[in-house]
Symmetry: C2
Subunit: 301 residues, 2 copies
Amino acid sequence: MNLNQENTTVGFIGLGAMGAGMAGCLLRKGWRVHVYMRRPEVQAAFIYAGAHAHDSAADLGRACDAVVLSLPNADAVETVLFGEKGLAQELKPGTYVIDTSTIAAASAQEFGKRLAARDVSFLDAPVSGGQEGAAAGTLACMVGGDAVQVEACRGLLSAFSQNIFHVGPSGAGQTVKACNQVAVAGAMLGVADALALARAQGVDPDVMRDVLLQGTARSVPLEKHAPRIIQENFEPGFRARLMRKDLRLALDAARAADTSLAAAPVAERLLDAMCEQDRGDWDWCGLALEVGKPGDGARES
Amino acid sequence: MNLNQENTTVGFIGLGAMGAGMAGCLLRKGWRVHVYMRRPEVQAAFIYAGAHAHDSAADLGRACDAVVLSLPNADAVETVLFGEKGLAQELKPGTYVIDTSTIAAASAQEFGKRLAARDVSFLDAPVSGGQEGAAAGTLACMVGGDAVQVEACRGLLSAFSQNIFHVGPSGAGQTVKACNQVAVAGAMLGVADALALARAQGVDPDVMRDVLLQGTARSVPLEKHAPRIIQENFEPGFRARLMRKDLRLALDAARAADTSLAAAPVAERLLDAMCEQDRGDWDWCGLALEVGKPGDGARES
């Protein structure tokens, strides 16, 4: 049975920068939303907007037919699901857990198996599009799981997602999210290199960018981030420490499969350098300031 | 005075994969073209198409008001200009040399100074767009040099270039070309990482690519090269050994300015590995086969 506004009470756990926007979309579009969070000041705003609040994840679980999670990491998901007063013990058979957190594919698969034993469906459904996309309901959502279950949740997901991609079985959503992050990291490194080279050679970086946008080097980092790098405006956006977390998930997955990556380890190192300089809350394009520093040796030999 | 078809005899030296297409554009569009090359079989085709052939660069130089070069490297440019029976000794004052070769900015600046002493103008004008773009006259041309001189050559350049960018003084064209190459190399590394990760995790690479094309990881390598990598079709295209040459120019320029780059050294290493396996004439996107190999250590530590 497909979830819809008549037959579904939706729980939402994790009302941070992303989750608050997504839960807001569900409320605005008329879904019955129940929330649980540890920070009462945020909860108050949602109660005002029409959400029903609970004192624990377990309590929320008893009331809901589907629960959306938006949490910072797999440990937080584990705690919400299986910790004290956790969701899992209270969810009815046939309930859906839709995890929009970015975690390891292996963690998603493990949570899926443990919940399947209770006849609860688990979909990994990480998103991209940032806070703005979450608030506007224009996220892209990469979903891993059983096709019938994904279809059942499509209406709910579309409350906050403009594009919903079913990309494969359990864990595949997380893998495609990781692929997205390593691909955009590579493009960002290329932009950082180009800006460092232009600077070193005394060429106007804005002129260089205008030319590159017309050709094969065109990319989203060149279009959106290069102007911010040139102006040294590093207000987030997407924070360096969060991009580092995402790349570490990708690198851990690759390492577990004995697979080497090319761009991701370099990007991780630059983001490490940012975090060590207390720049973890800058936009991640600030990694460009770490490129071009003298003394590193321009060429590995 | 602007160069036009009435007042200008154009010399063309370097009728390789790129140069033959560009010289063909000049001929088709009605310019008087004189050629010189060492390979008589190619020369014959151009004579048939209406070009006038010479026995030496010096001989060609005596007949021409502007000379376009399309040569593999700075040594070849140096030989054509200043070697035995070279151009420089025979060029009339006021002549233009337009160098579409990809060489170091520093070399271009040096050639420019030496020719300026003879009242000959030298523009660095490297191109991008590949053999297809050269044949069709749709190249992008990045020009460094004096603004008045660049304007004088715009009509001639437009015979083979769809977009002509004056990006700064002597050498700036080469710098922007180098910026383009490092930027696209970074994006390619990101694509290679994403494909390696999808493969390692058992996710369909075509599905992954379709999703990434909709978002922030969209890039030309993802659009044009990823399908070829997935199908293992490495027919050039742009050859690995030529991309390696271009990246080495960028890395040398960066090193001379004590500037480190992030993506370019990694791409160079992967292209080295291709060349060591006799894959230098494969399309450069074949570097993706070097990513994901086991044992390399996915994560630098």
